[in-house]
Every structure is written in structure tokens, then in C-alpha cells.
């Protein structure tokens, strides 16, 4: 009797907690839209997304440079993070001894625990001066942000694709060995293709992480409001635009920052939908 009562209390509490998280998500969404939509209405959706000038003091709000900036920085981060992360995961899963794999994997996962401001600081004191000295430009650049973000998405990339590779049945490997394939041939022809959907999921999770990162990017990107002409030009992303100016803003400026949040919200939602579709489509085949 008592036990079933306890059971019911626990069930009720837990379901309340679960509903609570859903409620919080709803509230956040409603709040962002409530604050941001008036600005979108006043500025006009197309002028807001397509406008190339951002001058809040003159009530000019165009986030096109930041949109391009977010995509450039995220693309650069993926170009660095995916090959590194995937290579690392393949080594850990297929080539290293289990002991080494355990050690290395836990160390890479430690990377995920380093606060982003520390990544930003390392970027500021190492990457930015390095780029300024050897590549030219002010150092604060698309390249610097991409390098820092590329390192930050490594843990996600490595651990998710490692799990995907480990999930490939051992019999596949045995089969390849039995027909005389080398390890690399087995990886290339059978294991990577079988783990495809998991690896794709890892890449998309990493994309979301790169697109959402703020602090480290503010510190190394330079935050210029012009569309960058090269990888060495300073750049501003959607997230850093919000974080940089939120403390100061008022009135329509503040609403425009929330509207920036709406755009970001859509981007991340679309990304998540693609991720779900990719994983489902991949495992279906």
C-alpha cells in the first residue's frame, strides 16, 4: 500500500518536472517572439534579414552581415573540427588498444568541460597574434574564430562519432578480416559507411554547437558589422551581436536584438529537423 503510494508521488513529481522543462521552453519561445516580433514588423522581415547595414543609433537594422558571418565561422569550424574529430574517432575505435582509447577519449571529453571563455582567452593570446604575425590583417578574423570553434566542437564530434563507430557490429570487422582486407580497407569500405548516420548526427550536433557559441567568438572575431571579404577580416556572428549590445540596448534596438534571436531560433530548429531526418533516413536504409 505504502509502496504504491510512494510510487505514485514519485511518478507525479517526475512528470511535473518533465512538464516543467517543456513549460520553460514554451515560455522562452513566447518571450523571444513577443519581444522580437514588433521590431520585425516595424523594420520589415526582408529589410531585417537582407539589410547590409547595422547602425542602431540611426535605427538601421540589417543582420545580413551577421548571417553571413555566422555561416562563415560555422563552416570554417566544421572544416577544421570534422576531419580532426572523425580521424580521432576512427583511430580510437579501430586502431588503438582499448586502454589507450579509454584514456584518450576521457581526455578529449575533458575538453568539453573547459569554459568557453577560457577557449576565447587562448584564442586571444595565441591564435589572434599568430594570425596577425604570419597571415596579416588585424588577427581578429573569421579564421581565428573558426580555429577556436573547431577545437571547441572536437569533443562532440569525437564522442558521438566514436559511439557510432563502436555500434557497428563486430561481425562486420571479422568478415572483412576474413576476406583479407587491411584495417584501413575495412574502415573505408564497411565501417564508415555503416556508421554514416551517427557520424552525420555528430556533425550536425557540432554545427549547432558552433553556431550557438558566443563568448569565445566575441573575444576573437573582432565583431565588425561588415560582410567579411576574406578569412582574415573581422566578422560578427548572430550570437555575438546579441551578447555585445544587449546590455546597452533599449527600445527598438533591444527588440531588434530579440528579432536576431528569432532568426537564430529558426536556424537551429531547421538544423535539428535536418539532424532528425538524417538519422532516421540513415538508419532506415
Amino acid at each position: 500500500m505504502k509502496r504504491s503510494q510512494n510510487e505514485r508521488v514519485a511518478e507525479l513529481t517526475l512528470s511535473l518536472v518533465a512538464l516543467g522543462s517543456l513549460g520553460i521552453l514554451t515560455l522562452i519561445t513566447v518571450f523571444i517572439f513577443k519581444e522580437g516580433l514588433p521590431a520585425l514588423k516595424e523594420i520589415g522581415l526582408w529589410e531585417f534579414i537582407g539589410g547590409t547595414r547595422w547602425v542602431p543609433s540611426k535605427k538601421i537594422f540589417g543582420i545580413f552581415p551577421m548571417l553571413v558571418g555566422s555561416f562563415m565561422v560555422t563552416g570554417g569550424a566544421l572544416a577544421i573540427g570534422i576531419p580532426l574529430g572523425l580521424g580521432c574517432a576512427v583511430y580510437l575505435s579501430e586502431f588503438s588498444s582499448p586502454g589507450v582509447a579509454r584514456l584518450l577519449k576521457s581526455m578529449i571529453e575533458l575538453l568539453a568541460g573547459i569554459p568557453s571563455v577560457v577557449f576565447g582567452f587562448i584564442g586571444l593570446t595565441v591564435v589572434v597574434p599568430f594570425i596577425r604575425t604570419y597571415f596579416g590583417g588585424p588577427g581578429f578574423s573569421v579564421l581565428a574564430s573558426s580555429i577556436v570553434l573547431g577545437l571547441m566542437i572536437l569533443p562532440t564530434m569525437v564522442s558521438v562519432s566514436y559511439d557510432a563507430l563502436r555500434a557497428v557490429p563486430e561481425s562486420y570487422r571479422d568478415g572483412m578480416m576474413a576476406v583479407g582486407a587491411t584495417r584501413w580497407q575495412a574502415v573505408r569500405m564497411v565501417i564508415l559507411p555503416s556508421a554514416r548516420s551517427g557520424i552525420l548526427a555528430a556533425a550536425i550536433l557540432a554545427t549547432g554547437r558552433a553556431m550557438g557559441e558566443t563568448m569565445a567568438v566575441i573575444m576573437v572575431a573582432g565583431n565588425a558589422t561588415a560582410v567579411p571579404e576574406s578569412l582574415l577580416d573581422p566578422v560578427r556572428t548572430l550570437t555575438s551581436n546579441i551578447a555585445l549590445e544587449m546590455g546597452y540596448s533599449a527600445g527598438i534596438h533591444r527588440q531588434a536584438l530579440f528579432a536576431t534571436g528569432i532568426v537564430l531560433f529558426f536556424l537551429v530548429t531547421v538544423l535539428n529537423l535536418i539532424a532528425h531526418a538524417a538519422v532516421r533516413g540513415g538508419s532506415g536504409r
Binding site: R53, P56, L124, V128, P138, G139, A224, P234, Y248
Partner: protein, 280 residues
């Protein structure tokens, strides 16, 4: 389940203790230009009067400072610019005045700039140091100018826009940093950079420039020769609590003003007289 209850209980306890705190401390928030000076004042105040309430100093920027006083989140706001029209409901006190120094890297041979050139640099018309420094005059120094500015809404940026830019926009290609400290660090590291910070924060790692032939010294600021001077304000709303008044009196008193003076700010003269800040 137990964990959850403990968590809940600890939340309640912390909420209670937070609720009881405001009466025992004074929150000061606002401009990051004023913040380091306010922290010094708060430290000295705590040292001299340990029995008085603690002063809790936060940044956030001039506009955030004014807003948090209006909303009641802070007792005192710090601004490094004149009050904006929508902030007129606040009572303002000029605690000191500060000059904005235009800074370059010490490796840059340039010593002075005219306001006209400065405006051309920051609006993106002049883009190369070679256009400013004659070749051979002080060695050949050329290269793309890296303009470093503050983000929109910062008090320092507002003052700079008002005094230098005259309605022109700062180039979108500029690097935007979110504090005096990061502007200084950027200029200290990059030989091609030019930026502007509070004069009180200039140190050996950067070189302040003369503007229209006038060096940014305390004397020149006091006499009004140096053009880039702005007020440091503290603002309050309506009737202030006696303990807040006491702290304001300390800032405006001899000890407080001496600290500000020693840190390179301009005090005395108009700077020290209490006045309702007027709009331009």
C-alpha cells in the same frame, strides 16, 4: 526524490538570504569606464568604515546603469556620458571628468592627429597609415589601419561619436571590442591599430596621441584646451536611502575626490560641483 527536496530546500534558503541582503549592501552598476574607479572608492570606503554597508560594484554599461536605477535593481548608476532624453527622471551628480585618449601602438611613429583626420580614419575614408605619415619623415610606416572601436551603446563610444564623428558613422569594418580593457589590449598588441579609451586607463603599453596639437594631459583637460572631455556621472532616483547618501558624500568629499584625482581623472573646478546634469 530526496535529492530533489534538498535542492528545493537549498533554493528556498538562498532565496531568503538574497531577499534580506539589499538593506545591508549598496549596488552600484553601469559604465565600464567608471567601474574601476568606483571599485577603488568602494574598497577605500570599506577600509575606512568597516561598519558601513558594503558597496557592490557591477559593470554593464552606461545605459544599463541608468536602466537599473530606474527599475530599482541598483541604488546608484554610473554613466560616462550625458543623460539621454529618456533618462531625464534621474538625479545626476558629476563625480569627476575624464578625457578620452586616442591611442596607437608604441611602435607607430605618429604623434598627433587632427580631429578631421581622426574622423576620416574612423569613418573609413583614410585606410592606410601611409596616407598620414609622410614617407621618410619618421621612417617609412605604412599598412592598413586597424580601427578599433567600442560597441554601439557604450558610454565611451557615445562620447566619441558626439565629440569626433559629428553624425558620421564609424566604419563597419572596424573591430568592435566590448570594454576599455580589450581595446587597450588590442592596440597594445597590434602595431597597425588605433583606438580610444579613458585617459585614466592609458599605460606604457599604448601611446596616446595629441589631438589638433594638444596633448591629452590633466592640465590641458582642466584648462579646456583638450577637446575630448566627458563627465563621469552617478545617478540616483528620487529620495535616496541615508546610507546611499553617505557613500555619495564620501565620493564628493575630500578623500573620494583625492582618490579619483590620483587615478588620473579631472576633479575640482566644474567637475566637483554637484549639478543636475543638463541635456545639450
Amino acid at each position: 526524490m530526496l535529492c530533489f527536496l534538498i535542492l528545493l530546500a537549498s533554493f528556498m534558503v538562498s532565496a531568503c538570504s538574497r531577499a534580506s541582503r539589499p538593506s545591508s549592501s549598496i549596488t552600484v552598476a553601469g559604465s565600464t569606464s567608471v567601474q574601476p574607479f568606483m571599485e577603488l572608492l568602494a574598497e577605500e570606503y570599506a577600509r575606512l568604515y568597516p561598519e558601513k554597508p558594503a558597496i557592490n560594484v557591477q559593470g554593464g554599461g552606461s545605459s544599463a546603469g541608468a536602466r537599473s536605477v530606474l527599475s530599482g535593481a541598483a541604488s546608484i548608476g554610473m554613466l560616462s556620458r550625458e543623460l539621454a532624453p529618456e533618462e531625464k527622471g534621474l538625479d545626476a551628480l558629476v563625480i569627476a571628468r575624464d578625457a578620452i585618449a586616442v591611442i596607437v601602438n608604441p611602435k607607430n611613429p605618429i604623434r598627433e592627429l587632427s580631429i578631421r583626420d581622426l574622423r576620416a580614419i574612423f569613418s573609413g575614408e583614410i585606410t592606410d597609415w601611409g596616407q598620414l605619415i609622410g614617407a621618410g619623415e619618421r621612417g617609412d610606416f605604412r599598412g592598413r589601419i586597424h580601427v578599433v572601436s567600442r560597441e554601439e551603446g557604450s558610454g565611451t563610444r557615445g562620447a566619441f561619436d558626439e565629440m569626433i564623428m559629428e553624425g558620421r558613422e564609424v566604419t563597419a569594418r572596424a573591430i568592435f571590442q566590448d570594454s576599455n580593457g580589450s581595446v587597450k589590449e588590442t592596440v597594445a598588441q597590434d602595431p597597425m591599430a588605433i583606438g580610444y579609451i579613458s585617459l585614466g586607463l592609458v599605460d606604457r603599453n599604448v601611446k596616446p596621441l595629441s589631438i589638433d596639437g594638444v596633448a591629452p594631459t590633466i592640465e590641458n583637460c582642466k584648462s579646456g584646451k583638450y577637446a575630448l572631455v566627458r563627465p563621469f556621472l552617478v545617478v540616483t532616483k528620487g529620495e535616496v536611502r541615508p546610507e546611499v547618501r553617505e557613500f555619495l558624500d564620501f565620493i564628493m568629499g575630500e578623500t573620494g575626490q583625492k582618490i579619483l584625482r590620483e587615478e588620473g581623472l579631472i576633479t575640482g573646478g566644474q567637475g566637483a560641483t554637484a549639478l543636475e546634469a543638463k541635456s545639450k
